[in-house]
Symmetry: D2
Amino acid sequence: MPTAASGRYFLQVPGPTIIPDRVAAAMAMPALDHRGPVFSAMAARISNDLKAVFKTRQPVMIFPSSGTGAWQAAIVNTLSAGDKVLIFETGHFSCLWKTIAIDLGLDVTEISGDWRSGIDANVVEAYLRADERHEIKAVLAVHNETATGVTSDIQALRRAMDNAGHDALLFVDTISSLCAMDYAHDAWGVDVTICGSQKGFMLPPGLSFTVASEKALERCKASNLPKGYFRWEPMIEAAGNGLYPYTPPVTLFYGLRESLTMLQEEGLEHVFARHARLAAATRAAVAAWGFDIQCRKPSEYSSAVTAVRLPEGHDADAYRAIVLDKFDMSLAAGLGKIAGRVFRIGHLGYMNALTLAGALSGVEMGFEAANIPFERGGVLAAMEVLNQG
Amino acid sequence: MPTAASGRYFLQVPGPTIIPDRVAAAMAMPALDHRGPVFSAMAARISNDLKAVFKTRQPVMIFPSSGTGAWQAAIVNTLSAGDKVLIFETGHFSCLWKTIAIDLGLDVTEISGDWRSGIDANVVEAYLRADERHEIKAVLAVHNETATGVTSDIQALRRAMDNAGHDALLFVDTISSLCAMDYAHDAWGVDVTICGSQKGFMLPPGLSFTVASEKALERCKASNLPKGYFRWEPMIEAAGNGLYPYTPPVTLFYGLRESLTMLQEEGLEHVFARHARLAAATRAAVAAWGFDIQCRKPSEYSSAVTAVRLPEGHDADAYRAIVLDKFDMSLAAGLGKIAGRVFRIGHLGYMNALTLAGALSGVEMGFEAANIPFERGGVLAAMEVLNQG
Amino acid sequence: MPTAASGRYFLQVPGPTIIPDRVAAAMAMPALDHRGPVFSAMAARISNDLKAVFKTRQPVMIFPSSGTGAWQAAIVNTLSAGDKVLIFETGHFSCLWKTIAIDLGLDVTEISGDWRSGIDANVVEAYLRADERHEIKAVLAVHNETATGVTSDIQALRRAMDNAGHDALLFVDTISSLCAMDYAHDAWGVDVTICGSQKGFMLPPGLSFTVASEKALERCKASNLPKGYFRWEPMIEAAGNGLYPYTPPVTLFYGLRESLTMLQEEGLEHVFARHARLAAATRAAVAAWGFDIQCRKPSEYSSAVTAVRLPEGHDADAYRAIVLDKFDMSLAAGLGKIAGRVFRIGHLGYMNALTLAGALSGVEMGFEAANIPFERGGVLAAMEVLNQG
Amino acid sequence: MPTAASGRYFLQVPGPTIIPDRVAAAMAMPALDHRGPVFSAMAARISNDLKAVFKTRQPVMIFPSSGTGAWQAAIVNTLSAGDKVLIFETGHFSCLWKTIAIDLGLDVTEISGDWRSGIDANVVEAYLRADERHEIKAVLAVHNETATGVTSDIQALRRAMDNAGHDALLFVDTISSLCAMDYAHDAWGVDVTICGSQKGFMLPPGLSFTVASEKALERCKASNLPKGYFRWEPMIEAAGNGLYPYTPPVTLFYGLRESLTMLQEEGLEHVFARHARLAAATRAAVAAWGFDIQCRKPSEYSSAVTAVRLPEGHDADAYRAIVLDKFDMSLAAGLGKIAGRVFRIGHLGYMNALTLAGALSGVEMGFEAANIPFERGGVLAAMEVLNQG
């Protein structure tokens, strides 16, 4: 198909997301001495601006790692070998949390889920009430399950923990929610928030972010897991003085500075509203095509990614390969137990109405190209939504 | 509207067109000595590869100027003060040719047109037959009228000139056609072909290209117009040895080298087929919306740009302002006597199906936002076309 | 020599000069609609800031051309066929002015010079006094002869013209002086100032600049030379409203905006002082090596470029080839009648002490590599100068 | 000082090093789906080419981390809590190895050193012979101590271990040696080699590299340290199939691909020769200035970095601040117990003769500016060396 042989590649996976030209240009500036005054000044400004994004007064730690590294850091800094943690199975990424936690020597209790719903706070509350000796040291939650497009109500979870009178820490993975949906580390009473650079921050992968509450920091003292690279303490100091314990990824810092500026210019509330509308438009398209999305409850819809369920008998990966080949667009795969069953449309980060409309056009044309029965009109339905406001 | 506050800007004017990231990266390389061996080698390769694009064996001259400069060069190198030239009024850009020609002291005969049709070769033939003393020294033609999206049949024009037995030179402006539609300087018997960098070449503005036939070069000897900056002779030498008479825009040369590589990789015939399909999809959308396009005859449809006529009583510029504000997309204005009456959708250069689908979605949503009555379904109709092949 | 196989290329020619990373990054931003509001706003800011650089209240015209184009524009907008102009032979570039002027049909009187001195204002005054009928319509001067590194005293020239009571226009080429040495279009009473983008402006080649006095604009009315592409009038309008008569090189405008910001940040007076010191250091090195420079008088030394005279019997071009091959540094050639006799060291634009010291080291090592007898210690002498202040 | 207000920043620290424009341009390309075919193909090529750089047939693991992360990975994948390891104190970075090892729960024996010499293989051999029960599980060595500019003879260390008949693993940190000095993982019998991206690889920080011998991989089975993020197994698989266990830093992969291409184009042996000459020139300068370097033995000189000892009573950090302020050059600080006592000149990566000469000029001028007594002539002496070959 000649029309895919030139022109812009459409990257519609929920991370890495499109890197804005401004950010790419910032990252192309010359490397500098990470122990010098220019770097320090930049790091100080980043430190300050990151707090606004996480809605916290605590320092924001920056590790040179993927988001998975921040998961590990959360565990090794606050917990000890054999500690019990509770995790609710929301999808592939909650399962990865579980795997990491087990790998690091924790005793993990997983509440099974259907991969189509968020965390049931009542069930968590029941588990915690039953844990009379408070052996559960932490509850691990994914704010937005990137694999399913299902969000969980973190404030409800916090209330459930409070209702149970339990002192477990609350860890929240905001890797694919931050800068796409509202989030408030302090106000929501979260103990450890972790995130990565390659989604709502509109950066390449390579940085992870961590915010710890005073309570979480207090727990560090008793933690006996080996920390090493992921020790929080020097990173908290670095958030204050710009002196990192090992070489920080300086060019990603340049990009982060620019990305934070862009978020400020747009305004976080506008950023969230934009994502909400793009997501609503996507769901309108899916409904018009006659397909289900993976997320069952409207209250749990994701503003960042939508997982679309294909009719039985159609392989989502074969479909995605056709779309990539014919339209030069990457859609995201179903992961884990829904591999081949769903495909996912990322609509977060540097994304707007026309880019999404183009992407949804590719999705719609792809159905026909792949001989998947569907109703026409998805893009039309999306335009109805995009044209509001 | 929050969805336009972030994400990629849609540049749907027929030049400057979207600059591919590869080309932008190439142009960001360090400047170099334009009299050194590295530049010479690059210039030699460019010289060679440009011939394939113009389908000529003649050297391709490169001036640091906009395409208008190449128009001027064509005139001052081959003609003399008071020479008669014949021009067919196809639209705003043929009128600019006329203006330049008059400004340079030529005696211009313009065959009036309706801005909705291409050159009528029979009419030209009649004019030439009537010019028994062969006072007309050149016929000036625009291959693709950027202002109207109407092409002219250059081969028919050549035949008409031959039928008339007239020895006037044939000048052709391919500024918005080259690399979007087929063109063959040698085979079509053109005497002077001119072009610019900022359309099908996918480069920023700043370079113009010129090819002259042996016959045109022969005419230089008798030309008495002042040439100066636009003298062909040193530029022809430069095309051979890479030594330019004044500093060449070295970073645009970097970009040109990359652009030529991209055209080679895709293959010119595929480039033309891609543009033809994108244009057909655009026209399908316009028809579905219930609007006319400026071009009357299917045989004269442009693969590069489509001018859409809005219903009477609607101001195309007000509409375009809404689209820009709400969807961050630039559509092109109507120019000259169709200002406010039409808007134009550029679909040439680094353009593919999904980008165009996104753009057409913006056009369609814009009608509603601007309260212009239209039939829904334009994007759907475009998708039918884009999904073929 | 392995040490040249990697690392930064040294570009020590007096244009194109090194493009700052900030400028390169600015130029990599996406192209935009040159008829839209974003471009207009940028163009307005550029228009305003350019005036400060030229020290003028007049509008600054921007042509998409090399500096040579601005020369031509100066002539065709103010003069008529057969007009007499006076030019002082300062070097290769004054000769190019002469060539262009003759090519455009002027009657050129050239006062011969030795290529080692600037304009002798007394001689000019004598010529003007002798021109009792005021047939000389313009005096053409090069502020800094790029080919020789010799400047001319424009204020003295102005006084000479005034002393002679002659009403000829004063044209000044500041292509390699602006942003390197002080210049003041208004205060110095210049009628037409022309410049280019690729030297003190730290941009790629592709733009030329022109400022015209009220007197020069008045003369336009009587001028009968064909103007076309180089007509001033629409460019003066464009300087006011951002609407260009043909597509402006938008990415070069991005770069220009950034370059003007950099000049403001440093401050023009500091820019001049920096260049003065770099030039003094270069001359100190040349003196220490035991060589002469082309410029005879200290009052005429150039802050932008230094032309070094090699001992008789040594070919400067062979020497430059060795330096390029062995150290990946481009030095500039001798041009015209001093070809092979001198080489030139450009030290203008984005240039600082350490880059210059590195360059001078390459020059010094090159003498040994090329078996040219010299005294050691040039770099040492340069360091003495660079370390002051 | 005006000469530092513009022009290229000199980054003469031993990492991050200067990023070549080609690499920066490669990294500015659009992000892509890290699970798609384009990324897989790139990862496969990188995997293959990295082997040549490490001179190994083993897979090269790439972690999104600084080099410190690779240290940790080496430990947690092969060792168990309480295992004994032997480390030779060569400087600040061997001490960091020690700190990490202790932090991860190992029992570290450190052989004290003077920070001016490399590893004494005889001493290591004696320690190993004394360890009759083979309780020492690994010997940790830094190939090039970035903090002192002292290298250690890894082949001698290997022989010492063999002579002792000891089966401890040999871990080698090549963070600042690889791509600057010869290294051969397989031929030298190293068990775990680790490296980072921001030095000889000419990339920004953000990637670490690891190669493990068959013996090291065998030891993984018995290792009981928590691995999590740094588990080798999935990274070895990723080296084979391009499927990473968590999001790889895709833009750094782009840069790595380009960097590997540049290393191939120059040829590794030429890369080493270039670094050797640059280092020799630097030492010649230091000797001429009358200062000592930190490294005592010529056989242990580093090709990557030279640590210069200032005379007693002079604060190296105050000196460096003056150089940064006056010449916009970053020199590296003394670290740990030689802080303030030495400064370091990085001369690795994208570095050539003229850049180094410029840097050494800044060092020399800085002495005067800082009122540190020195002999003139350092740059002259360096030029003698740089001009050879």
